[in-house]
Symmetry: D2
Subunit: 294 residues, 4 copies
């Protein structure tokens, strides 16, 4: 489907910073390259993992351009363009389209809780200004608003809103969405510990930062589900479960950076107020990774 360019493992790169907490574009490209060559089916820069809300407009633009240059069409790119104001969201969405993004992801950031009508108008305003598809993203924990199935249905009536990412972490919600929105709707799972249940429930893809650390296991899970091999899917899932739970609990940017270092890779620095994990937490992650690699 032309308007649904994503399936499988959609990998979220971190945004690395240098010693002065400036964005480190060369390292970012290197991290993107790792995700591409290890087999991810899509790349999603400027997500939560990429600390998008902590970046200036110029930094977002540099990350967008670097992503598209580096993937160079090998896998599709889904650029995060969410912003509190409609005007800024339009601005970043237009930038992403011109830069060559395959789609944009938009969560209704909402300092002030938005009404359904305000959310529809927000998506509508952006959609009318771009021609690439939009993935509407529901994550009440970060956006402060829980989009109901009824609202999602309204959003899907906007022609280029073609994909739904669901991150409530509640599998019952995903079941419910699938029944309400129809099986043909392309929905994606954004909750790592829900990966098995969500694929089982029919999710078309898994939006995840885990491929920065364990790409093979992530892809193996997807393949096992594609083959309808329940036993293998279960085995592969439980193998990676501790790591998925750990990176979610500790915060993805912190945990991915620490994990990269454990794997002998550069992960750059974090931007304040985010600080590295403690030595004890890093040790815990080291133990989890050790059991996965052997």
């Amino acid at each position: 489907m032309k308007n649904v360019p994503f399936k499988g493992i959609i990998a979220y790169p971190i945004t690395p910073f240098d010693q002065n907490e400036k964005v480190d574009i060369p390292l970012f490209k290197k991290l993107v390259e790792r995700l591409v060559v290890s087999g991810s089916h899509g790349l999603a820069p400027l997500g939560s993992t990429g600390v998008m809300p902590y970046l200036s407009d110029e930094e977002k633009e540099a990350i967008t351009e670097a992503s598209i240059q580096q993937t160079n069409g090998r896998i599709p790119t889904l650029v995060g363009v969410s912003n509190l104001t409609t005007e800024k969201t339009v601005y970043h969405a237009q930038f992403a389209e011109k830069a060559g993004a395959d789609a944009v992801m938009i969560i209704p950031m909402s300092y002030w809780k938005l009404t359904d009508d305000e959310i529809v108008a927000h998506y509508d305003a952006v959609a009318s200004k771009i021609s690439i598809p939009i993935m509407a993203y529901n994550n009440p924990a970060t956006s402060g608003v829980d989009m109901s199935p009824v609202l999602l249905k309204r959003l899907l009536e906007i022609p280029n809103v073609t994909m739904i990412k669901e991150s409530t972490g509640d599998i019952q919600r995903m079941h419910y969405l699938r029944k309400e929105l129809g099986e043909e709707t392309a929905f994606y799972n954004g909750s790592n510990p829900l990966a098995l249940a969500a694929f089982t429930a029919g999710a078309r893809g898994w939006c995840t930062a885990a491929p920065n650390l364990i790409p093979e296991l992530n892809i193996d899970l997807y393949n096992a589900v594609e083959e309808g091999n329940l036993e293998k899917a279960k085995e592969v899932f439980y193998k990676q479960f501790d790591l998925l739970k750990f990176i979610v609990n500790k915060g993805l940017p912190r945990a991915v950076k620490a994990g990269l270092n454990i794997l002998g890779e550069e992960g750059g620095n974090l931007r304040s107020p985010l600080k590295p994990m403690t030595a004890k937490e890093t040790e815990e992650l080291k133990n989890i990774i050790k059991t996965l690699i052997n």
Copy 2:
């Protein structure tokens, strides 16, 4: 395993009442017979579905005896014996064992929130007075206490606590339990809308009132999972999802009674304060059942 007598579909009968709100034992036996002949793998009288907390001691004993007489060894029986006081729990557990139950189910009912030590002592006191196995049941919504994996681990050290029933409705909890308690632990799912995800996660059985209405679909789901046929499991699950959600939302005793009537079966009366569903709700259920039967 001798101490784990249950797997598959564990069916929960309702407790029907006559016009004077007295327990109707003949009708109860008829309802049990339906569950047995339609292929359920186990019978669980005196659960929430059986409105156990609304019954007198004598009524509970009559239901226990009727269950064991009627199943007559064709399928194993799991009798609910939970009570607020330890003394009464021991009393009912001993009665169930003498009557021939294969196991008892115990939830730590707790008007006053119990400490972990109190809960362990409670299970320990009961376990030491019977020789049949115990299924420890976690359902914070009805018991008021959420037993942590650490506490469940302690309970499993009591020799005849051999099974865990988990009804938080959160699949992540089940994943976590399985990792913490070990794959060999026999855990059971008590949340209807979680049936697919729980089986996928490795649950040994599904404790459910649904076989009162749609036994074939419940058993089909179990069989599809046993065969490792993910696609069929998904299809069968989504087919029954609306009914599972409906009966949970409306309250199992009310919804099962109404459903039986829709199917042309006697369901008896409810005991006050519980009242039948409204005409509108019944119509809604009729529509759901109609699509399932055709």
Copy 3:
């Protein structure tokens, strides 16, 4: 107002047990006497503090009769008669009236979440069978159902439902109730740490187990509010705040029993599964009480 026999400090006695966990009526009477002579404005046996749900029918009746004999009209008595079934609630309410209770308290206990109509029918059935007033009690944490202001309004239309006890612990709810139900409605606070805010908001009384341990401070708070002396009310409240918070957090029956022992009084035993507080908790309570007495 004849139908609103309570105001001020309504004291909740514990139900003490002997070494064999049988109810100890002589000790209960002694504890009631302490509450009367220390100045409480009302007595409320068979509440949560009195572990009513853990008692047999015969035990409830003995406690009811002992309460009325011992108070002997010196202060009004409010007897808890809540039960899961309507039939049993009617039974206990009628018993209380015959025994001489001034009013009964009823919370809609609900293993299965009750609909508004079921709750109204439940209260209505009881109210039609007795002529003493009823205090309707909202405490979602123990009953599992949160009665909305709209539902409470319906209950207040039943002639002898004349009082509302509110224990959500949320002062905004109390403000809202007062606006919705009208200032003339007699509402009572059942959340100890909310005592100051609730009186300030216009609560007519405070339903509390604290007078078992610190009757003077409880009464001083009520008097300060009656005098409109905000500064003194605040001072007296903060003085007792740590104790109020402690007894709520540890469970009222356990904490009151331990506190009585610390004060050199008999408190009897608890009924299993409830166990005494740990030595460390008891030490903590000792320290709190010490600062209050000096």
Copy 4:
């Protein structure tokens, strides 16, 4: 106390926009003037009411300067300078100090949930770069992090963190804070429907958008409490309760703008995605205001 420049009613102006959704500074000054002359004891621009997170750096600076010019020392100014990154927070805090602010307010905005150590480092970094006092603001609903009393205690050890604003909306939290942090700590209430309870509990001030609409009632409440007149405080509070609840429920910027229009004042436009209240909501507000004015 030199470092605690606020008490009483601290008024939050909205940030008005023109037809093109640009900040309207002349109208903003007019709105500030209304707050000053109607008797507010402090002014707090760039709060949630002032939609600070929706503004560019330049717009925040313009609002800061306009606030200080317009108040011109008649009442102290508390400028919101919160930002996701530490660097930007320092930047805005320094700007506010140079512009003449009396204090800054900082909430630990946290897209990624911050650890206690990260929060302390964040406040410490800002505090070391300015010499005016800081009000630390706890509002889990908007910041995503609930600062515990232990953490607040750590923040108060930073020399110029001298004030705490608490907006959980739970009076028990305020009681607890006061006991834990000490009576001498200057704490402020940020939850409108809690105004009476918070003042009763000892709050030094009330941070509120309500003076844009009903300054006299807000000030009357403060005065009644200051006089220790509980009866009058209660009466004045209940008089304004419906309006407080309404503006909180509908979102302060939307509700204040609509309320100003109802009062015959200009309120400017909102910035998208925020839209005006519906006609029905506006009617509801009109009815509430009507009863207050007569």
